[in-house]
């Protein structure tokens, strides 16, 4: 039953995508409130799902890959709603909706919503660790989206071939500042999640720790390259995309091993 809420929220993101495509095809795209509201409504349904599932499980709903993906999509929407509009990157909605749509569609179609064999007891440290890490992933996803926007804008400026979307994308400088801030937000939250993982009360599988540290080192390296001026903005933007793709793959590994080695 609660999966219907995910379906409805996915339809909200589809509406935002369709509207954007129609407007872009007509050559009259307006970074209107529509995307923002469509994402906000989708977010409400995501929250309702997580709340119902959490209530049923008696703990934070991160017990299987389906829940992990919906939590991730929820985090992306949350960071967008909190930060996207602050940085006046209204067009980010046009880029955010497809990412959330893909995550949720995959989660709905793949046979990954397998109920846990036994009801796990609530562990506040574990839940804090998992939820902080997922919200950090949301920030990394947004940094990846801002990275895509940067590369699109940069490519148009380089090739002198300006399309209608050029006029709606923020300046390179603004996008670069947004990428930096999102990376920092993600990095700080992820570090909190990582540190709290050592307090869950039972040893975590080594592969899980290695994957988690790999993601941390990857983003630490990007931030260091950015602040020591070793990386050009275009490379930072590209690395945000590479970094998030890698982090997503590792997240799969972390969740998979967590299910395999769950404590008795």
């Amino acid at each position: 039953m609660d999966r219907h809420l995910v379906t409805i929220s996915t339809l909200c993101f589809v509406a935002a995508i369709v509207r954007t495509i129609v407007e872009l095809r007509a050559g009259m795209f307006r970074p209107a409130r529509f995307s923002f509201f469509a994402i906000a409504i989708g977010f409400i349904f995501q929250t309702a799902f997580l709340s119902m599932r959490g209530h049923a499980l008696g703990r934070c709903p991160l017990t299987n890959l389906f829940e992990v993906f919906i939590f991730l999509a929820w985090s992306v929407a949350l960071i967008y709603l909190l930060i996207g509009s602050t940085y006046r990157l209204s067009l980010m909605g046009a880029f955010t909706s497809p990412v959330i749509f893909l995550i949720q569609t995959f989660a709905l179609l793949a046979p990954i919503d397998t109920p846990h064999a036994r009801k796990l007891p609530a562990n506040s440290w574990l839940e804090f660790h998992a939820s902080m890490s997922m919200i950090a992933y949301g920030a990394f996803a947004l940094a990846c989206i801002a990275g895509v926007m940067y590369l699109v804008q940069e490519r148009q400026l380089k090739t002198h071939n300006l399309h209608s979307i050029f006029y709606h994308l923020p300046p390179l400088d603004t996008l670069y500042a947004a990428i930096t801030r999102l990376l920092w937000w993600g990095f700080v939250l992820y570090t909190l999640g990582l540190v709290s993982g050592f307090f869950v009360g039972h040893p975590l599988p080594r592969i899980q720790i290695v994957c988690a540290f790999a993601v941390w080192i990857l983003y630490a390296a990007i931030l260091q390259g950015r602040h020591l001026r070793r990386l050009a903005p275009r490379r930072v933007a590209a690395l945000c995309i590479v970094g998030f793709s890698a982090a997503l793959t590792l997240l799969w590994g972390i969740t998979f091993t967590a299910q395999m080695y769950s404590p008795p």
Partner: protein, 356 residues
């Protein structure tokens, strides 16, 4: 009551012909000499038009005579270039003009200001009555709606403003950005001034003639630097405007690449207006460098214009809906007022919807 428009524009007349009618026409003269109940003259460098309301039909020649300079003996030769729109066609024409669709540069917004000024002038002199009042108020609304709901005003269509807009797309806020003008030519000066008008304050000028560099720097509140030292500034500047008369490129990938390593996180925008070009085109391949020569700036301006032209259909749809609505509203309003009193508000025969 007949609502009509008589005029000429860049579509029908060359500048030599237009200047015979532009500049001097006064609304009250048109009102007095042509026998219209209401009249308004819209005179710009690209068009001279009279919008009027009259009980009886006023011939085009009569209006043209009012517009012509006194003593113009060749007026009869020019009457053919005047167009005339009546009723709904007149309404549609004004909406198109106000929205910038009929302008030489599609989507330009100056015409709206000119139309507002013409309306204000006619209103204060009493030449514009209830018909023209409603017509022009609606036209201003339509123009605003077209601007908001289409991309017709999007992008720059002149080389100078294209350069400034591109700079803003790279740097966002231009305040605090350092600009070097290399070669104190007229176009580079214009571009530098346009940048200064958008917030650039840190402006440097370098020219083979030091006097000219000093003069230009002083007039723009910037600083002059000797010509042999300009390349040292590449480490610090954000925007380079170059327009020297050098036969060989002054800036190549080989000379710029080492400098870029020291400013890896700062983009460099180069506007090369010189012909032959001052900057080797290969420079655009370097990371973080955005090089635009005169042709690429022109190409961007043309792309913007093409984008604006694509929007005409969407704008026409908005206008068509307003023309129908305006026709109905006006007919309803004036029919009601004629029923309420023995005389219509204008003391004329009641307006029929079919007349508009």
């Amino acid at each position: 009551m007949n609502l009509f428009c008589v005029g000429l524009s860049h579509h029908t007349a060359n500048v030599e012909t237009r200047e015979r009618f532009a500049g001097h026409p006064k609304t009250d003269g048109v009102l007095r000499d042509s026998g219209c109940a209401e009249a308004l003259v819209l005179s710009t460098c690209n068009r001279v038009e009279v919008y009027a309301a009259s009980a009886a039909r006023v011939p085009t020649e009569a209006v043209a005579r009012c517009l012509a300079r006194s003593g113009d003996k060749e007026l009869s030769e020019h009457t053919a270039i005047f167009y005339r729109y009546e009723g709904a066609d007149c309404v549609q024409h004004l909406f198109r003009v106000a929205a910038g669709i009929d302008s030489m540069v599609v989507g330009e917004t100056e015409i709206l200001g000119q139309a507002k000024k013409a309306y204000e002038s006619a209103r204060s002199s009493g030449a514009a009555g209830p018909f023209l009042h409603r017509l022009f108020q609606r036209a201003f609304r339509v123009a605003k709606q077209v601007r908001t709901h289409t991309e017709i005003t999007r992008g720059s269509v002149s080389v100078g403003t294209v350069a400034v807009d591109l700079a803003q797309k790279i740097f966002g806020n231009l305040a605090g950005r350092k600009v070097l003008v290399l070669g104190a030519g007229e176009t580079s000066e214009r571009t530098a001034r346009a940048l200064a008008s958008r917030g650039v304050t840190d402006l440097w000028v370098s020219n083979r003639s030091a006097d000219r560099a000093e003069e230009l720097a002083r007039s723009m509140g910037g600083w002059a630097i000797p010509f042999h030292l300009w390349s040292e500034q590449c480490r610090e500047i954000d925007i380079l405007i170059t327009s020297t008369s050098s036969d060989t490129p002054l800036l190549t990938s080989q000379t710029l690449e080492p400098v870029l390593h020291q400013r890896i996180d700062r983009p460099l925008f180069i506007i090369d207006i010189a012909v032959p070009r001052d900057v080797d085109p290969q420079v655009n391949e370097l990371e973080g460098v955005y090089l635009y020569d005169i042709d690429s700036l022109q190409a961007v301006a043309e792309q913007s214009l093409a984008l604006r032209r694509q929007q005409i259909i969407a704008a026409e749809e908005i206008i068509a809906a307003h023309v129908v609505d305006f026709r109905e509203t006006l007919a309803r309003t004036f029919n009601r007022s004629s029923q309420d009193s023995d005389h219509s508000s204008l003391g004329e025969t009641p307006l029929r919807a079919s007349q508009l």
